[in-house]
């Protein structure tokens, strides 16, 4: 009797618990069994038979596992569906470029026997036709040979209407891609295309895996391979990806440049910087990246080696010089020069970036097209004041802010919410105030800041006067469309990328010219002219060279990092003895 009662005592508690169980366990259980089944199934059937089983028999000793810490999770593992830094950088592990780049950013043939050039007949004299000779020994990780068919298929996939690839650059500039034979790929451009070395074949899609899917579905958007590329062509093969948690890659036994020395690379997704630092210091991670500069001394103290990998990113300020929407002051070169002179960027780099990098002089610092004779504008506030006076901007109403014709020299300065950028804004605000320029600071989420003109993106709609960011998508090639007159965003051209709104005919012509100059030396000449124009007119003001920071633990040996393809020699990485 009493027991009966006491069971009913907590009846309502039980009800709640059973509600939880009934309501929630139901969906949870199938998910728990299904989700792994979906992702693991291919891994279980294929990967172990290829990699793990032999590894287990040959080397019963300890597996060499390296743990990398990424602060963002991959979006997709299909190299053509992503723009994301973390995804793109990881591609060197499980996928392959026709050639990747070494730590000096020199191309290294991987799938081809040698880099096409005019001398070896790989490049036609007019620069339109590129002929690639493939190696004989290249195979996918499941043993299928890699042939010209894969290249043609990759091209087709990029151009297919129903594939939402991230970028068609430069494939939509091509006339055709053909496989002359199994080992020869011929690419024909419509116009001479100078930056081909940097932009061609950044990844390869396995025709034998994806073609059946494409034939059936009409798209490879939803192909399982995008999430679980168990067939790859890199030194490692995809093994497992648990959403929000980790991704595992294991050694590719069939890699033609030799089996990697590590057995496994484990990517851990840690969304939080502080935890990344803690994990690295504790030895829970062997490699991490995207550090705040202030964390560097501590990391080094803990024995982490910091590698500054310059990947062409140069942080700088774009001036809004749009004919109608720009601030009148910014159309005057003297005002722009004054801003350059009034902002002590060297001190900024020394203090906020701990002197780990340099003030950027040009948008092309660290690329092979850089003009080394140019050095940044010095800090000279007195001269800045003189220039502003000269330009007619004086403080006529005594409010501490210069004005001219009733217009106050108040500039809207916008950037993303990244901490270092917001900090820079605060410093700039104070320093420019000293010469009588007032800054209104604004910061935006990246997707709002970089949204297009059509989406009312802050960087594209000319509502800001100073726009700070860094961009170097073609590295190591300096090609950029951000300066072309035709790229000025407008209602007619809602996706334009010229955030300065500047249309300088001479500059425009030079940019168009360089894009077709297949000859390196000629192109360098053109770029030097471009660089000089931009620098002297202060069309762009460099803040700092923005390297990718990698922290590598002392456990790892043979680590080299490239600015373009950071993990180009990942197969040689090893655990230190």
């Amino acid at each position: 009797m009493v027991i009966r009662q006491s069971t009913r005592l907590f009846l309502f508690v039980l009800v709640v618990v059973s509600m939880i169980l009934a309501g929630c366990a139901q969906p949870a259980t199938p998910a728990a069994t299904q989700a792994p089944a979906a992702t693991e199934a291919p891994a279980v059937t294929e990967a172990p038979s290829v990699t793990e089983a032999p590894a287990a028999t040959e080397a019963p000793a300890e597996r060499k596992v390296a743990t990398f810490i990424w602060t963002q999770e991959f979006d997709t593992l299909n190299p053509y569906y992503t723009n994301m830094w973390f995804s793109s950088v990881t591609q060197q592990l499980y996928n392959c470029w026709a050639w990747d780049f070494d730590e000096a950013n020199k191309p290294q043939p991987r799938l081809v026997t040698e880099l096409p050039s005019v001398d070896n007949g790989g490049l036609s004299a007019d620069g339109k036709v590129i002929t690639m000779k493939l190696r004989d020994d290249i195979v996918w990780s499941d043993g299928t040979p890699i042939t010209s068919e894969d290249f043609v298929f990759t091209y087709q996939m990029i151009m297919a209407d129903r594939n939402t690839v991230a970028s068609r650059n430069p494939y939509d500039l091509m006339e055709k891609v053909e496989g002359l034979d199994a080992r020869t790929v011929v690419i024909t451009f419509k116009e001479p295309y100078a930056p081909w070395v940097a932009n061609l074949w950044r990844g390869l899609l396995p025709a034998h895996v994806l073609k059946p899917i494409f034939d059936q579905e009409g798209t490879i958007d939803t192909a399982e391979w995008n999430k679980a590329p168990t067939v790859g062509c890199g030194p490692f093969v995809f093994d497992q990806w648990e959403s929000g948690s980790f991704t595992r890659f294991v050694a590719n036994e069939k890699y033609w440049l030799g089996r990697p020395k590590l057995d496994e690379i484990f990517f851990r997704f840690v969304p939080d910087d502080a935890s990344q630092i803690a994990a690295l210091k504790a030895g829970d991670g062997d490699l991490g990246t995207f550090f705040a500069y202030s964390d560097l001394p501590e990391l080094e103290a803990a024995g982490i080696k910091i590698i500054n990998s310059f990947s062409g990113y140069n942080e700088g300020i774009y001036f809004n010089m749009h004919a109608e929407k720009g601030h009148p002051a910014l159309k005057d070169v003297k005002v722009r020069q004054a801003i350059a002179l009034a902002f002590d960027r060297q001190k900024l780099v020394d203090d906020l970036l701990l002197g780990r990098t340099k003030v950027a002089a040009t948008d092309w610092d660290n690329t092979p097209y850089n003009d080394p004779s140019i050095s940044p504008w010095p800090y000279d506030p007195e001269k800045a004041k003189a220039l502003l006076d000269e330009a007619g901007w004086v403080d006529s109403n005594g409010d501490g802010v210069r004005d001219k014709d009733g217009v106050e020299l108040v500039l809207k300065y916008g950037t993303t919410t990244r901490e270092i950028r917001q900090d820079t804004q605060a410093v700039a605000q104070q320093q420019l105030a000293e010469v009588g320029i007032k800054l209104d600071l604004q910061s935006f989420d990246p997707d709002i800041f970089f949204a297009s003109y059509a989406e009312n993106g802050a960087s594209a709609n000319f509502s800001l006067d100073l726009i700070e960011y860094s961009d170097s998508p073609n590295f190591p090639d300096p090609d950029t469309s951000a300066w072309l007159c035709a790229e000025i965003p407008s209602d007619e051209n809602p996706t334009g990328v010229n955030t300065s709104g500047l249309c300088d005919e001479e500059l425009d012509a030079l940019f168009k010219l360089q894009a077709t100059q297949v000859d390196y030396n000629e192109r360098v000449q053109t770029f030097n002219k471009i660089t000089k124009m931009i620098f002297e007119n202060v069309y762009w003001l460099g803040l700092w060279q923005d390297p990718d920071l990698f922290g590598v633990s002392s456990r790892l040996a043979n680590v080299k990092i490239s600015g373009v393809t950071p993990f180009f020699n990942i197969m040689e990485w090893d655990l230190a003895q």
Binding site: Q5, V16, I20, Q34, D221, G244, V270, F450
Partner: protein
């Protein structure tokens, strides 16, 4: 009863419809899903235009909503940009169970959510269990010992926890138990993640990693709930029927746990039933701080990339759950309280 349930469910349909419409419109201005994010490949204006076309983002918003709701397999899309719509759509729409594909990773939204849901449920249900157990213990005890030293101390502490923003609590506990304990050579708790990658995803590892997030999630709620239970119990204990029960010579536990608690439980059960569906959303802040791979982080990641299908999927899932749990709460209430009957 069946009629009542049916009527309630029918009433929910326009509600969900309005919610989805408003959210969908809100989300259109949330940022450009195609915006480059420090990209390594060029997304030129031509690519932006093409992607907009392919993803249907060039359509008027009402059409986008219609496609989202009812699919577009009855319409044709212009994918090659020649101005002629010739390719039939493939989406079946939410009404037919197709929440679309994530703009970020092209996975079906349902799969994206399923991948994270178990993690969130694990964390949240553990937290909810802790909350219930401790809130009941504390609430009942401090109600029975009203104005005792224990009650006063607990009241002060619960107010402290209740007022402390979650992140502050998380940071302080992390600083003490993960950072400083390690510094002092004490057994320390892990800072982030669901398990040590080296140790693997063992139950022990997961449990160990759940300590701080669970505590962070629980404390505020324990404080809030126990206050609530305390006052509900105090009210119940002051009722005449409790005096009657006492006058009958019933032993104290029976008075407290049957006569008082059963009455006090009514509002408590309602509150819990109404709070439960919000657990599905995970705790955004807690999951972010402790790097827990759950729904809250998923939401945050995808909101920041303007991934409308996933964000809509998460919000609609929660909305549906809330509607259902509200109904469950009402039915439960009727079941617990014989005075209420729905017709």
């Amino acid at each position: 009863m069946t009629r009542y349930i049916l009527r309630r469910l029918l009433q929910a349909i326009p509600l969900l419809f309005v919610i989805s419409l408003v959210l969908f419109f809100l989300m259109q201005n949330m940022g450009d899903p195609i915006a480059t994010m420090g990209g390594r490949n060029v997304t030129r204006s031509a690519d932006r235009e093409r992607l907009k076309r392919q993803l249907g983002l060039d359509k008027p918003i009402i059409v986008q909503y219609l496609y989202w709701l009812a699919g577009n397999d009855w319409a044709k899309a212009d994918l090659d940009g020649d101005g002629i719509a010739e390719t039939p759509g493939t989406r079946r729409g939410v009404l037919r169970g197709d929440f679309g594909l994530s703009l970020v990773n092209k996975k079906p939204v349902t799969q994206v959510i399923w991948e994270r849901l178990p993690n969130t449920l694990l964390l949240m249900l553990t937290a909810e269990a802790m909350i219930l157990i401790f809130a009941l213990l504390i609430g009942i005890y401090s109600a029975l010992k009203q104005y005792s030293t224990f009650d006063n101390i607990i009241t002060t502490i619960t107010f402290l926890f209740y007022s402390m923003p979650v992140f502050f609590f998380a940071l302080v506990t992390m600083y003490i138990f993960a950072v400083n304990f390690k510094k002092w050579g004490l057994p320390y708790l892990p800072t982030v993640g669901m398990f040590e990658p080296t140790a693997g995803k063992t139950p022990l590892q997961v449990a160990w990693h759940m300590v701080l997030p669970t505590a962070t999630l629980s404390f505020g709620f324990i404080a809030g709930y126990s206050r609530y239970i305390r006052s509900a119990m105090l009210e119940a204990m002051g009722q005449d029927y409790v005096r009657t029960a006492k006058a009958k010579g019933l032993p104290k536990p029976e008075i407290v746990y049957i006569h008082a608690l059963k009455n006090a439980a009514l509002p408590i059960v309602t509150i819990i039933a109404l709070d439960l569906p919000f657990l599905l959303g995970g705790a955004i802040v807690t999951e972010r701080i402790f790097g827990w791979p759950g729904m809250g982080r998923l939401f945050l990641d995808h909101v920041s990339r303007g991934d409308t299908p996933v964000v809509m999927g998460i919000l609609m899932m929660i909305a549906v759950a809330v509607v259902i749990f509200q109904l469950i709460a009402d039915i439960l209430y009727a079941w617990l309280d014989p005075r209420i009957r729905y017709t």
